[in-house]
Amino acid sequence: MDLRRAHRTLLRLYPSDYTALFALEMQNAFDQAAEERRLQSSPVFVRFLLGEFIGLLIGAGAEWIAKFTTDSSVRGRCLPDLRMMRPPGVPRELWFAATCRNAGQVSLPDEVLEAQDRISTLIRRMVHAIANHDFPGARRYSNEERQARNELRRLQEKYNIDDNGCS
């Protein structure tokens, strides 16, 4: 089995916020360390691999425990809250219009609200898929999100609403 893939698979055991921040760095560090150890003797390389994989298993368990026992404000000092982030590709106006709507400041037709919710959900799923290296899934969500955005545009024209959520 490809070692890189095995390492990436074990990284999926970690909480998603942790993976979003550290997975790429951990993968890079593993690749560089593996390259170096491979040049040394075989026992050194095998010991390195065992240490890595056992370390990842223990680390994943420890991170899940930390996730459930650490206050979210403390955890938020280093890890992103994926629910609060404006996902890449979402216009700032759309994101803040949704925030205003949630605060009860803007009243939009139900159809438009549903379309906005659908886009937000699809984008969250896409970000989650990318964070977990599920690229076919991410592509599928991206296509669905494009269709949902076209639908939203059609509804905005129908109700004469701009991107800021104003009539």
Binding site: E25, Q32, I54, G55, G59, L79
Partner: protein, 112 residues
């Protein structure tokens, strides 16, 4: 802000080595692994799971900070010691110095 080490508990070895490694200059993940191995004369070889678990806790405690390096190397994210982290490292070194002094004094008493 919470007191991150209220009882002044001894730091774990990986944490101490990470703080020591970052004391002179900022480093990225792989560079930390290499430097820690060299600092401990090859005795401590941190796995990525252990290293990044410790880095996450240190970031939460605000003892280190994460920043993006300007260079175009493979590793862009690097870590540096914060003033709070430096204070913790100094406190730990002082604790170790005190222990060493006490142990040396006891040994001398026994030899005399």
């Amino acid at each position: 802000m919470r007191n991150n080490n209220p009882a002044g508990k001894p730091l774990t070895e990986p944490v101490l080595l990470i703080l020591m490694s970052l004391a002179d200059k900022p480093r990225h993940g792989y560079s930390l692994m290499k430097d820690i191995e060299s600092l401990s004369n090859g005795r401590v070889q941190l796995s990525t799971g252990t290293l990044y678990g410790a880095l996450r806790r240190l970031l939460e405690d605000l003892w280190i900070a994460r920043f993006e390096q300007d260079d175009t190397s493979r590793e862009k994210q690097a870590y540096k010691l914060t003033p709070a982290g430096r204070r913790q490292l100094q406190a730990e070194l002082e604790r170790m110095r005190q222990l060493t002094r006490a142990a040396t004094a006891r040994l001398r008493t026994r030899e005399a």
